[in-house]
Symmetry: D5
Subunit: 128 residues, 10 copies
Amino acid sequence: MEYEFKALGKDMSAPSKDLETFPTPANVKLVSFTSDEVTSHCPVTGQPDFNTVEIEYAPDQKCVESKSLKLYLWTFRDEQIFGEGLAGTIAQDIFDALEPFYCKVTLEQGIRGGMQMSAVAEVVRDEA
Amino acid sequence: MEYEFKALGKDMSAPSKDLETFPTPANVKLVSFTSDEVTSHCPVTGQPDFNTVEIEYAPDQKCVESKSLKLYLWTFRDEQIFGEGLAGTIAQDIFDALEPFYCKVTLEQGIRGGMQMSAVAEVVRDEA
Amino acid sequence: MEYEFKALGKDMSAPSKDLETFPTPANVKLVSFTSDEVTSHCPVTGQPDFNTVEIEYAPDQKCVESKSLKLYLWTFRDEQIFGEGLAGTIAQDIFDALEPFYCKVTLEQGIRGGMQMSAVAEVVRDEA
Amino acid sequence: MEYEFKALGKDMSAPSKDLETFPTPANVKLVSFTSDEVTSHCPVTGQPDFNTVEIEYAPDQKCVESKSLKLYLWTFRDEQIFGEGLAGTIAQDIFDALEPFYCKVTLEQGIRGGMQMSAVAEVVRDEA
Amino acid sequence: MEYEFKALGKDMSAPSKDLETFPTPANVKLVSFTSDEVTSHCPVTGQPDFNTVEIEYAPDQKCVESKSLKLYLWTFRDEQIFGEGLAGTIAQDIFDALEPFYCKVTLEQGIRGGMQMSAVAEVVRDEA
Amino acid sequence: MEYEFKALGKDMSAPSKDLETFPTPANVKLVSFTSDEVTSHCPVTGQPDFNTVEIEYAPDQKCVESKSLKLYLWTFRDEQIFGEGLAGTIAQDIFDALEPFYCKVTLEQGIRGGMQMSAVAEVVRDEA
Amino acid sequence: MEYEFKALGKDMSAPSKDLETFPTPANVKLVSFTSDEVTSHCPVTGQPDFNTVEIEYAPDQKCVESKSLKLYLWTFRDEQIFGEGLAGTIAQDIFDALEPFYCKVTLEQGIRGGMQMSAVAEVVRDEA
Amino acid sequence: MEYEFKALGKDMSAPSKDLETFPTPANVKLVSFTSDEVTSHCPVTGQPDFNTVEIEYAPDQKCVESKSLKLYLWTFRDEQIFGEGLAGTIAQDIFDALEPFYCKVTLEQGIRGGMQMSAVAEVVRDEA
Amino acid sequence: MEYEFKALGKDMSAPSKDLETFPTPANVKLVSFTSDEVTSHCPVTGQPDFNTVEIEYAPDQKCVESKSLKLYLWTFRDEQIFGEGLAGTIAQDIFDALEPFYCKVTLEQGIRGGMQMSAVAEVVRDEA
Amino acid sequence: MEYEFKALGKDMSAPSKDLETFPTPANVKLVSFTSDEVTSHCPVTGQPDFNTVEIEYAPDQKCVESKSLKLYLWTFRDEQIFGEGLAGTIAQDIFDALEPFYCKVTLEQGIRGGMQMSAVAEVVRDEA
């Protein structure tokens, strides 16, 4: 198996919205990534939010390359966005880049005010 | 994304039944909040009850803002109510404020008399 | 919400088969109680058995009051009964007292002879 | 409830294939036993295997008495049998003794060569 | 039960693609193996990847012998392959060797860049 | 052993600073109580704080009766006090009531602003 | 190693204060037993208390036989005693029966009123 | 107890090196804060590091106010610093602000390259 | 590093009291082995006991080879011995074979009669 | 803080015995690294061993750079060495590179033959 990834030559110290892909290997039905290192800023208070994000997709032709996914998640570090919106945005971006059968994103925020919020966003291919 | 929340100017040291909302971001299918800091009083003995509450809803147009939810949950601190009734009341109030597809509340009480009680309340939109 | 419970005046130091109830609050779909303090005696050896019991029911008009449930579970302390039978008996008694849509009892015994037994008993309302 | 078990007079220091039963108490739908003390020998190397076994059945007329089950499981201590075969044999013997609606046995072997094997065997009553 | 395994005479210090089998014992419906000792190399960076692999299959005529499975998993130690591809390859090889009703492989990679990847590959018998 | 406790006749629905004691039984060297149901209010924001408190003491002549301890801990429910101060106050009150060899109080606050505070207070008998 | 235990002929369905011993095997420095099946009654309310008890001793000439210890712990099932007193009594009885270098008993009560009590009792041989 | 904190009027959406204090309450011997929301940047790769930080100090006259501590920890979000250096810097800043008997900082980094780093820094008052 | 172990040619399907050793590598101060697969028989009831054994030693010139240790532990499978005696015997045998600075054996039995026993045996080199 | 690391320009896909260092930051007393991705080969069977390694040192002038440590640990991937020897070798190499006050290495092997081995190696600076 041989690939040529931009990731190899790329500046790994800069966030990037660019999601690289590789051809889905035979038999693969489901792929997921979990990271507890996704931060953003609360639009109400401006303070940093710490999130655990699980991205799950059923690949068709393309799988996402993990290093470019890391740089992508890093891009939210200075954005002001609710956790609910962050889940919805990631789901859409993954869906646009991979064109999978579906993509589901589950986000859990760090505890705030004694409460833990979680949100589920999903984009499903329109089979019509 | 820009919102103007009353929460920002509001007295954060006072409980309030007022639930604020914001427009549901694209792709979001499910939101939940869990808090282990919801207290009330037992109607039989008058003693404080300590509850863990999970609120789950499938949003339509509106999501609940988390700080106003915290102030809302605080309002039960001096009420006399069974855990079963507390679950049912929260489910109804969230349903009325957000008009979601459904709202489910799961409440677990602290151990009393060697027993732990949990109750599930649910309000589902009438599709008729 | 106002109730008048016999439990308030009752002798809390005596086991009792009498299960008190209160009207089911709005929206409540499921209630469960878990206790790891239910003991009985093995009919084969006469020795004490230690059980964890979970009682789950879907309430119709009535919910069980927790203190009377505690006194009820206490009544098995000196009975000789298999764990399987204990689960079945509790399920029937709860069903008779509350007339719920269904009642399910899951019992786990303490480890005996290197084995842990669990039994599930269920009584479902006859809709015919 | 009164039973007369051979187990009471029986030599508890000898393994035995004889499974005793008692009449299923009312309302009981499911019974399971878990033991992490079931050993046998590997047919390839001859070395002892250590297994955790869960036996689950939906009783019809008969439930298995736990002490006789313990003595039964002990009988495999010196047999040479794969874990897969052990699961299948226990499921058949329980099925033959109790004539339940079904019997399912899940066996997990101790880690060997950095791998943990588990096997599920099931015997279902032929309703034809 | 008597088998004659090449494993007994075989050089256990060498990886091998050769999967040995034995006849499925009666009643066995599902078998799984879990190992956290499966390594390979990342095709992007060349660095070693550490994976936990769960192989689950519904056996028809044949079950896999565990020692030969261990030697098989060892063969990936020096290959350059994505985790997604590794899952897909193992699923196909097990399927080809055992001809089960289905074979499912779940692979979890060690944490890389603050993310944990998991992939599910499945090969199902074509019943047409 | 016979005691006469005010707790028996006392109004159990009212907080009380009054700590009851009983004579230390022979051989007892250390007693501790842990509760995760101790609440107070933050002096900066006025919002409720949720604390887990462990009280440990080396008894001399007196041990604390547990029901009166519960009513005592309840008295902080409406006080404005830092967690550090709450730990110090409980330690002093227990020390004054029991005159033990020492009393140590460890308090853990619920997570606030992504941080969990814990404080240790101790009062040791002056042996001079 | 040959012993003749009364336990073998004894009625195993009756509690007994009689602790049997056997000669300490060579090199043994510390022995402990943990049971979460020790119950008694609260002297204040008369209700059953559920305790986890750990007995630790440094044996000199004698070790305690485990079946007789089980029957001994059973004797508290109908006694009215505080947890603190129960720990102290067990420590003294073990000390008297075994004459060890020391005996330490740690008792944890089931949660009552949102609190968990634990007590440590110790008897140390007087070396004077 | 009455304090006047700048925190109340302060802009809570901006990081700040300014650590506020309050007078140590009686009997308090040890205070600690744990946060898993402390981020910085790796000086080698420039990528974000995620750290769990525990700050422990033995207070003399002053305790740190928790909101100002949160804003302080936030200031490292855009700094390039090794985890070892971050631990050392926090320990020194806390020591300078509170003049405690000692201050100890334990930092655990998120897993990088399959490894987890932890560092302990300590500043102890010079008693000479 | 080259060794010639009898283990290589030895019949691995037979228990053996023979403990093989190899020269202690530089800097090694402590070695331990933990196994939850050590069985024996109870001298009172004759039934199998299941034990978890931890062997810890401070090596001087010799370390124990792990395969021979496994065959050694297997030898107790059909012996009648109390857990306390088993701990003491293993400690002595390891001490005799390795002549370490000390050897400590901690044995935990499977739960019997609702109790778990553990025993610690130790042999320390006589420095006189 | 500015450093110039060879790691930045170095081929990250090749193992290397070369340990890079940086000057110890102020106040740092203890540093540790834990990795569960250290493999080697058993000198008896030639099969791969999987180890969890914790390296702890008290730094004097130098700390180890984490990327070079990762490449260092990778070098054992094809070596034949006992776990005990691996612990001792790593401890010596770290000691030689950093000249710390002491270096301690704790290694836990994956389960083999139902046993888990762990070894502790330590090198302490000779203060004579």
